[in-house]
Every structure is written in structure tokens, then in C-alpha cells.
């Protein structure tokens, strides 16, 4: 077992709306990532996966509020730190974050090298411009980005190139954890492949110690990460290796989700897709029992009121359901 790079214990965060209502977006999430590993989070929009990414950085700004739980990065607990300390000591060097529209977040009036200077100076104000340029050139060469991009403005780069530049800039300080929230969703498949390849290179060369990858595209997640967690209504409902999750999902929700995968491969044409009717519950008042019960085909009355614990099984797997594994597999096989 490798060294644990990121550990999240029972993290709870909430949003406070304009009308002072609490929305429990992340409700008791625990997981860990070892060195050299990548973890994927799958789920519908609104399930809390992007909020989880924001919460993990310890960078809290209204309307997002920290409630309880621990975020431990390489042995250092960052939960409850004030945002300013987090910005100076954690972001960039410990955690790098790439949001979906990252490529549009670059100030169009600045050259790329300026962003690198900003990132490095936030942690080491003494570094000279020459040293920074050397660092940047070394890294850009390594990940196959053209060196002249350093002196260009963001608008002069193509979409895929911009996204790769953003990744190169945010990982220049060799972070322990890279959080990528839909980093390639806005790109064409060809650019997507380049972005993923580059992230994988960064991991392989040890510049990035571990990665948390968030996307709603399951085939992509399957190909990018070692492990996958499925999130539903602010909670993790199932966890396992990518292969196990795609080919052997246990939780009824994961089962439905995996059944909806569409890829251009022989035999997928015209098959029945796993559709789940209904909508996720309102997180202002989360249900007492299983959060998925309302939409679950296999729910029994007990599911609606008894709280469902995380149930570990196999090698590091977990699922959150009242039913036994065999029971669920039995029903799936009859479908």
C-alpha cells in the first residue's frame, strides 16, 4: 500500500441560500487516495460532486460553509484553516484545482508567463523571473507544450491548448493532489485525448502525486482513473475499482448509471439502456432513510426511514444499501 496523499473523513459542508435556507450539499463523505493513484467521482449534475471538490480545497467562501469533518493532505489537516492561509500555503503546492471552464478563467490581458509568476510568487516571493522562466520552460518541454506559448496571451491559443496550459500552470509547484472537475467536457474528443494524456504524464513522472477526477462521462472516467466513487445526493453510494464499478455495480443507482453508458462499440447498438425515472431529493430537507429510495425499483418500506450505513466488502469496496449483495445481483440477473 502506498502512502496516503489525501484523506477525507466524514466531511460535511452546506450552502446557505439568499433566503437563509441550508442546503446540505456534501453530507458525510469519507475516502482516501494513495500516492500514484487516481480516483474518479461520478454522479448526476447536482449530486454534490463539484461542491465536494470545492470543499476539499478548504477554500470556503459564502454561500459555501464548512460544517465538520477532516481533510488531511499528506498528514496535514487543513480543515478549518482560514481561506487566506489556504490560498497562500495550500493551493498550488498541496492542492491544484482545475475547474471546468478553467480555460476561460485566464485574464486575456496577461501573458501566460505572468500566471506562472503569480502561482510561484504566492509561495516563494524570492524566486527571480529568470528562475521562473527556466522552471516553466522545463515543464512545458516535458508535457509537450510549445515554449512560445509562454509569451502569448490566452486568446492566441486554441481551446485544447488553453486547457493544457492551465493544467501546466496550476501544477508547476508539483501538488500532492490534483482536483480536476470536468477538465475536458468543453473540448472536442481529439483535444480531450491530449488533455488526458498530459495529466497521465504528469502523474507518471511524479509531478502530481495523486488525482481526483470528476466527470459525468463514465467511459472517460473508466479510462482515466484507478478507482471510482458514485455520488448521489451529497453522499457516496458506492466505491470500487474502475473495472468493478463499470462491470459489476452493486448499488441500484450505480447499476442504473452504468447501464446508461453509450460507446461506439459492437453490440451496444439497440440495447436497452438503464434508465432511472424521477429526480434527486431536495437537499434542503434530505430524506431520513435511503436518499435513493424514492427512485429505486427495489426499495422496500424499510428503506424509506432507516438510516443506511456505508457497508464495506471485498477489497476496499463499499456500498450504501439495505439489501445484501447477493440479493441485488439476483434481481439484476433477471432483468
Amino acid at each position: 500500500m502506498g502512502k496516503v496523499m489525501l484523506e477525507v473523513k466524514n466531511l460535511k459542508t452546506k450552502y446557505v441560500t439568499r433566503f437563509h435556507e441550508d442546503v446540505y450539499a456534501v453530507d458525510g463523505v469519507s475516502f482516501s487516495i494513495e500516492e500514484g493513484k487516481s480516483l474518479g467521482i461520478a454522479g448526476e449534475s447536482g449530486c454534490g460532486k463539484s461542491t465536494l471538490a470545492l470543499s476539499m480545497m478548504g477554500y470556503y467562501f459564502p454561500p459555501l460553509h464548512y460544517m465538520s469533518g477532516d481533510i488531511i493532505i499528506d498528514g496535514k489537516n487543513i480543515s478549518g484553516m482560514d481561506p487566506d492561509t489556504v490560498r497562500k500555503t495550500i493551493l498550488g503546492s498541496e492542492i491544484a484545482y482545475i475547474p471546468q471552464a478553467a480555460m476561460n478563467a485566464l485574464n486575456p490581458t496577461q501573458k501566460i508567463i505572468r500566471f506562472l509568476e503569480d502561482v510561484i510568487h504566492a509561495h516563494d516571493p524570492k524566486k527571480s523571473k529568470k528562475e521562473i522562466r527556466e522552471m516553466a520552460e522545463a515543464r512545458f518541454t516535458e508535457v509537450g507544450l510549445p515554449l512560445d506559448a509562454l509569451d502569448k496571451h490566452a486568446v492566441e491559443l486554441s481551446g485544447g491548448m488553453k486547457q493544457r496550459t492551465v493544467i501546466a500552470v496550476s501544477t508547476i509547484l508539483n501538488p500532492k493532489v490534483l482536483i480536476a472537475d470536468e477538465p475536458s467536457s468543453a473540448l472536442d474528443v481529439t483535444s480531450q485525448k491530449l488533455v488526458i494524456k498530459m495529466m497521465r504524464e504528469l502523474m507518471e513522472k511524479g509531478h502530481v502525486k495523486s488525482m481526483l477526477f470528476i466527470t459525468h462521462e463514465l467511459p472517460l472516467l473508466y479510462n482515466v482513473t484507478d478507482d471510482i466513487m458514485v455520488m448521489y445526493a451529497g453522499q457516496i453510494v458506492e466505491k470500487g475499482t474502475a473495472k468493478e464499478m463499470v462491470f459489476d455495480p452493486i448499488h441500484p443507482y450505480s447499476h442504473g448509471l452504468m447501464g446508461s453508458i453509450l460507446v461506439p462499440e459492437e453490440g451496444t447498438r439497440g440495447q436497452k439502456l438503464g434508465a432511472i425515472p424521477g429526480a434527486p431529493p431536495n437537499l434542503k430537507k434530505p430524506p431520513d432513510g435511503c436518499r435513493f429510495a424514492e427512485r429505486c425499483k427495489y426499495a422496500c418500506p424499510e428503506c424509506f426511514y432507516s438510516s443506511i450505513p456505508e457497508r464495506p466488502f471485498g477489497e476496499g469496496r463499499m456500498y450504501r444499501c439495505l439489501k445484501e449483495i447477493d440479493e441485488l445481483k439476483e434481481v439484476y440477473s433477471h432483468e
Binding site: E44, G144, N223, V263, A279
Partner: protein, 285 residues
């Protein structure tokens, strides 16, 4: 994924529903002249489920606007049910739009947020000449349409579209098509902004709609896996041209054009390995 595979029907002998010859759209003049759609030919048959696959900027949305008659082609002819399409005045356009309808990408901007759901559905009944039906008959029709898309009409009355989720809104759009019963449905990325689970539901409903009414569905998408799953025939579009078209099985499983091959190999898959080793990071520079 265990149920029987839907069989591949042959539409080559079915009558033509919509076809085009040399359809072209040019924007701008001089230096700014861009050819968005470049002399494309196509033949969509009655009852066929056709996908037009292309990446962003390939001209698929421009083509869809021309097919819908929302913008005019710079060059080329479009034939509707064998006859040259004539949409030269408002009245003729109205007639044409009785035969072709659309579902758009973004459900949140597809509805007039100031109109109640009843108004939207009633409007469809009126358009189909049901203006003089009694109130009960109208309600019956609307309930039927909502049932078809698994929505409860009784719960929707007096509600506004924005009170629904994205998936529910797209289903309401399908209910609208169900009431209008056009010859052709043009669906422009109807599932790209909804969740995987709602997506499956919507695709199923579109297939059912086609089977029940025999309408031609033109499905525009960037997702080649989705196109393969749902369509009878596939048109692959690159830079305003169709680089390859044919039956879904043939095009996806045995692609001929280089672009199609690249597109398919670049999409992550689950049974075949997604090969990143050949990717050259410097290629993009």
C-alpha cells in the same frame, strides 16, 4: 445491457422524406467569407432515425437551421416529400412547419418562461386544427401526451416550465412533438445538457415516438457512441461536408473515412482499450 438487440431495418427502399442536393451556407463576404455548410447531399427516408455527427464548428447546427427553414440556404435545393421545398412566404413556411418540428439542445431556453405549460400544449392542439374541440377533449389529448413521456398532466397544470428539471423539460418537448405529429422531427443535441439517467429515458421515448408515428427523426449530436446506439443511418460531418454516411453498423464498425476512424478511436470506450500511447503531445502545437 441484457435485452435483445434492436434489429437493423433497411430504409433504402422507403420513400424519401427530406433530401437535399448541393446545400450550401456561406456567411460573410470577402476576407470574412466562411463556408459553414459546403455542398452537402443527403437523403432521409420516411421512418428513418438518422444521426448527423460532428464536432463543434462542423456546421451541423447551421445545417439544422436550414433544414428547419429558419435560415435560407445560399445554394442548393431541399426536397420535402419528393417535392422542391417552397418557403418563400409566411403562409408557405407555416405549412412546411406543420411537417417538421424540432427539439433543441438547451431545455432551459427552449420554453418561454412567461407561459404556463398548459398554454404550450394547448398551442400545439390548436396548431393541429383542434381549436374547436371541447375542453374535455383537449384535456384528454394533453393527458395522453404527458402519459407518453411519463409526466402527470394533472401535476403540470398551472406550472411554469422552469419549475421542472432539465430532463422533465425535454420530455415535455417530446410531449409537444407527440401532439403535433410532424412528418419529421429534428432533434438538435436534445440530451447533451441532461444527466445520463434522464438521457436514457429521453432516447427511449424518441425511439418509441418514431415507432408509434412513423416519423423521420434527424438526430444531431457530437457523441458518436450515442449516434451509434440510436440511429439507423449516420452522417459524419467535418468542416461543412459529409465525409461518410451509411447504415450505423457499417459506418461505426467499419469506418472508411480517415476522419471517422480518428473520431471513433478518440472516444473513450469500455471494452476496447483507449489507446493513449500513440498520442503525440506535440502534435497540437
Amino acid at each position: 445491457m441484457s435485452e435483445a438487440v434492436r434489429e437493423q431495418k433497411d430504409f433504402t427502399n422507403a420513400p424519401l422524406c427530406l433530401s437535399g442536393k448541393g446545400v450550401t451556407k456561406v456567411f460573410g463576404f470577402g476576407d470574412k467569407r466562411t463556408v459553414a455548410v459546403d455542398h452537402v447531399d443527403f437523403e432521409f427516408h420516411e421512418g428513418e432515425f438518422v444521426s448527423i455527427v460532428g464536432e463543434s464548428g462542423s456546421g451541423k447546427t447551421t445545417l439544422s437551421k436550414m433544414l428547419l427553414g429558419l435560415s435560407n440556404a445560399t445554394e442548393g435545393e431541399i426536397y420535402f416529400q419528393g417535392k422542391l421545398r417552397d418557403i418563400s412566404n409566411g403562409h408557405k413556411k407555416k405549412e412546411y412547419w406543420k411537417g417538421i418540428q424540432a427539439i433543441f439542445q438547451d431545455p432551459f431556453s427552449s420554453f418561454n418562461t412567461f407561459q404556463k405549460i398548459d398554454t404550450v400544449l394547448l398551442d400545439c392542439i390548436n396548431m393541429r386544427g383542434g381549436k374547436n374541440l371541447s375542453k374535455e377533449e383537449k384535456t384528454k389529448l394533453m393527458t395522453e401526451a404527458c402519459n407518453f413521456v411519463n409526466l402527470k398532466f394533472a401535476e403540470l397544470t398551472n406550472k411554469y416550465p422552469f419549475e421542472l428539471s432539465g430532463g422533465q423539460m425535454q420530455r415535455l418537448m417530446i410531449a409537444r412533438i407527440f401532439l403535433l405529429k410532424p412528418k419529421i422531427l429534428l432533434a438538435d443535441e436534445p440530451t447533451s445538457m441532461v444527466d445520463a439517467c434522464s438521457r436514457a429515458t429521453i432516447l427511449d421515448m424518441l425511439l418509441n415516438l418514431r415507432d408509434e408515428t412513423g416519423m423521420t427523426v434527424i438526430f444531431i449530436t457530437h457523441d458518436i457512441g450515442l449516434a451509434y446506439y440510436i440511429s439507423d443511418s449516420v452522417y459524419i460531418m467535418e468542416h461543412g461536408k459529409f465525409v461518410e454516411y451509411g447504415k450505423a453498423d457499417e459506418v461505426i464498425l467499419h469506418p472508411q473515412a480517415a476522419y471517422t476512424k480518428r473520431l471513433i478511436s478518440d472516444v473513450p470506450k469500455i471494452h476496447e482499450e483507449w489507446d493513449l500511447s500513440t498520442v503525440d503531445l506535440k502534435a497540437d502545437a
